[in-house]
Amino acid sequence: MLGDARKAQEIFQTTLREAALRAAHGELPKEPFWLFRDARWRCLEASETDLQAEPLEIDEHDIVPEAPSQIEQLEPAQLAIWISSAPDPQRTALTLFYLDEFDYREILDLAELKLSELSRLLAVGRRQFQAWLDAMLPKKPNV
């Protein structure tokens, strides 16, 4: 969500501290994803103070069979930075989807999106990321 490990760690600790305080006061929400929702909003708030990417028309490419080999060449930080520079709610959608910890209903709940919106955001995100991969990395044949 942030593309910055230090900030992410700060937000994680702040979220947990807040949760501990609420637990001490017996004010923990009943809904199951409140902690993630809380962390998400903190991330969005924190990134508002960062340098914002200029709104650009980003290229989109069809996903190619060689994409996995292109992705293998990436550093995790590069992916994190790419996702964190996406506008919300696409950023949240991509983050939650690729964390691979939630099913799509849970993602819809957490990101406060409709199914069609989530589907569109992910589809566009894939095509944009593929375009970025094509621009940044040479294609290797997928064996």
Binding site: V64, P76, Y98
Partner: protein, 234 residues
């Protein structure tokens, strides 16, 4: 995948190249995400505990389940049928089945089918006894003064002899038929007072006396017949 529509969408798309590319793309990205190192002090929070508590069982969720809903509706319908049958059986009495059959006959009978007889209904007991050998086929006092149009004696589907009387008032018909008997002992199954039966827009009041049931029937409802019944009705 828990969701049926999602499963069927994946099933439909599984043979396309685009979907295969998308899947391998997603797996590669998810693999890269998994390789992100997590600082040890954060990792210990995720050691063995599930941060997301499993969704709680609630009545609302259970009731919204289509299978539960279908079973619930089926049970309600079955319960409704059982209650209906139970309520119907509550008013049953010895001879009620015969009474219902005779109500069907009453609804389909035309007065021309009967032998014309103009007399007080109470006087027909002698006619039934002398002409047809039917003992105790007596019209109760409540209906004895009604003027008759016609009468007949016929055998029902169980070869029981039934006397039918048509009276002038309000298309009322009387039926006299043998009371139901115990299959083993042959004893008459008695019941006190008047009992009502209903069948296809007709209502009848039935009483038993000396092993013979008397039934007064008319098209209408119980309140149409009630005024004719004496206050001894139970």
């Amino acid at each position: 995948m828990r969701d049926r529509s999602m499963r069927s969408a994946v099933f439909r798309a599984r043979t396309s190249d685009e979907f295969a590319n998308q899947q391998s793309f997603d797996q590669a990205v998810a693999g890269l995400v998994r390789s992100i190192p997590i600082p040890p002090d954060i990792a210990e929070w995720f050691s063995a505990k599930d941060l997301v508590s499993p969704s709680k069982w609630t009545w609302k969720k259970t009731v919204r389940n289509p299978a539960v809903l279908a079973i619930g509706i089926a049970l309600v319908v079955i319960a409704g049928v059982l209650v209906f049958q139970f309520v119907a059986r509550l008013n049953d009495f010895p001879g009620s089945a015969t009474a219902r059959k005779l109500l069907t006959i009453a609804a389909s009978t035309r007065s021309v089918l009967l032998d014309p007889v103009s007399a007080d209904a109470g006087t027909l007991s002698d006619l039934f006894f002398m002409k047809h050998g039917l003992e105790h086929y007596d019209v109760p006092a409540e209906f004895a003064d009604f003027r008759t149009i016609g009468c007949r004696v016929f055998e029902d589907d169980q070869s029981q002899r039934v006397a039918q009387i048509w009276v002038a008032e309000k298309r009322i018909q009387f039926f006299l038929f043998p009371a139901e008997r115990d299959v083993k002992t042959g004893a008459v199954l008695r019941f006190p007072g008047w009992r009502y039966v209903h069948q296809e827009g007709w209502v009848a009041a039935v009483t038993e006396h000396n092993g013979v049931c008397f039934m007064a029937a008319l098209p209408g409802r119980e309140k149409d017949l009630a005024p004719y019944i004496s206050k001894t009705k139970q």
